[in-house]
């Protein structure tokens, strides 16, 4: 068993469906990479870069929120937002980054802070995905 089935779906579309050798993503517990034959595991996704390794090809995408079910022969990622680099509007992401930074500096209540933090993470992920 050297490949597993990878399926990434969002409420709007099927983002990716195919085979992969390895997939990397950011979770609440840190960066993980999984190969075929992984023990059954459910992880919660944190904003980060998703990379799909298939043969010599590596595809990257910005993955923002959701969870993943990892099984020995398949990985299901249920994402709320996931974007290919060419779907990202760089200027918008940079503007969002600035906005979030400003909001974090002008410390307000907790709810506002956690929102700004999420926005910041999203913006950083988007910008990183473009590199």
């Amino acid at each position: 068993m050297d490949k597993f089935k990878l399926r990434i779906v969002t409420p709007e579309r099927v983002f990716y469906e195919g085979e992969a050798d390895m997939v990397e993503m950011n979770t609440t517990e840190g960066q993980i990479g999984c190969y075929p034959g992984h023990i059954p595991l459910t992880v919660i996704i944190r904003p980060g870069i998703l990379s799909i390794h298939e043969g010599d090809e590596v595809k990257t995408a910005a993955l923002h929120e959701g969870f993943a079910e990892i099984l020995p022969d398949s990985v299901n990622i249920l994402a709320e937002t996931v974007e290919w680099p060419d779907e990202i509007d760089e200027e918008r992401a940079r503007a969002a980054l600035e906005r979030a930074k400003k909001r974090l500096e002008s410390k307000t209540d907790d709810l506002e802070m956690s929102r700004a933090e999420t926005a910041l993470q999203r913006a950083i992920t988007r910008i990183n995905a473009l590199k």
Binding site: R7, V9, T10, P11, E12, R13, V14, T27, T28, E29, I39, P40, L41, T42, V43, I44, G66, F67, E69, L71, P72, N76, L78, E80
Partner: protein, 286 residues
């Protein structure tokens, strides 16, 4: 017999109505196509989400998690998804009936969250306790809307205000068949495993079981609500299309009938005039 003028006036009025129903049918046909393609696209997520949660629950084994066990509160929350506009046949009333005729729901101990003005009107008139009406969501359902509603509901569930959460919507089977459906969202019902064979392997969670379920279940519920909203929108347009199609063909029948009556009346009046003329001339000659 009605006079020619009366028949004509009535026929014109029906023709006017028919034009409206015809136009509405066309509009809802276009809207249905869009809603249906949305429903198909989101179906994948809905489906995968359902299967994933089923397999997680099957593998997690016995747990006392609050979302799976329920709490002591006897109150039930029901989300009722209807449309904002009428002229859709029995679409809205059949969803409302899921609530009003359900023997498990007694008026006193259910809290209703309506999405769509029609459902609000019907249930309000019947004296149900309506906590919130969110008519804007159904116009263009997004996942964020569903998540917002989920958070409100989970808050009242976690604080023990309500013990069970239901969802009443119309399942879009195909263009002509729409099934009013009542779904139990919380506590998540134990699911009968369809014999996958994978059940023996134990699911691991990162972070721990509790935290992971805490985060997954809200997403699961939001996914269900979002899916239901999209299905309901497709059903609404399907129901309206059918209702308007029937109305148009009924109008056609009435117009045919009235045309026949009008012609008969016209002929009758000509015959009468002729008879009068002939009778008159005979009287003069005689």
């Amino acid at each position: 017999m009605a006079s020619m003028r009366d028949i004509k006036r009535r026929r014109t009025s029906i023709q006017g109505t028919q034009q409206i129903t015809k136009a509405m049918k066309l509009v809802s046909t276009v809207k249905l196509q869009r809603a249906r393609s949305n429903a198909e696209k989101s179906h994948n997520y809905f489906d995968t989400m359902y299967r994933t949660v089923c397999s997680i629950l099957a593998r997690v084994g016995e747990t006392d998690h609050r979302f799976l066990k329920g709490n002591d509160s006897g109150r039930k929350a029901v989300i009722v998804i209807t449309s904002n506009r009428g002229l859709a046949g029995g679409y809205n009333s059949s969803v409302a009936k899921l609530v009003t005729t359900n023997p498990d729901f007694s008026k006193g101990d259910i809290d209703i969250y309506t999405i769509g003005n029609k459902g609000y009107e019907i249930l309000h008139r019947n004296g149900y306790n309506i906590v919130r009406n969110l008519p804007d969501i159904i116009e263009a359902p997004t996942f964020a809307d569903a998540m917002g509603l989920t958070n409100i509901l989970l808050e009242s569930y976690s604080s023990g205000e309500v013990g069970e959460i239901y969802l009443a919507y119309t399942f879009f089977k195909n263009t002509v068949t729409h099934v009013p459906t009542l779904l139990k969202l919380l506590p998540v019902a134990p699911i009968d495993e369809d014999g996958d064979g994978n059940v023996d392997s134990i699911m691991n969670f990162e972070p721990g079981d509790e935290e992971a379920l805490d985060m997954i279940i809200p997403k699961y519920i939001a996914g269900q609500i979002h899916g239901a909203l999209i299905e309901a929108l497709a059903s609404e347009n399907g129901a309206r299309m059918q209702a308007m199609d029937n109305a148009t063909s009924n109008a056609e029948d009435m117009i045919d009938d009235l045309t026949l009556k009008y012609n008969r009346a016209r002929q009758g009046s000509i015959t009468q005039e002729l008879t009068e003329i002939i009778a008159g001339s005979q009287a003069l000659n005689g």
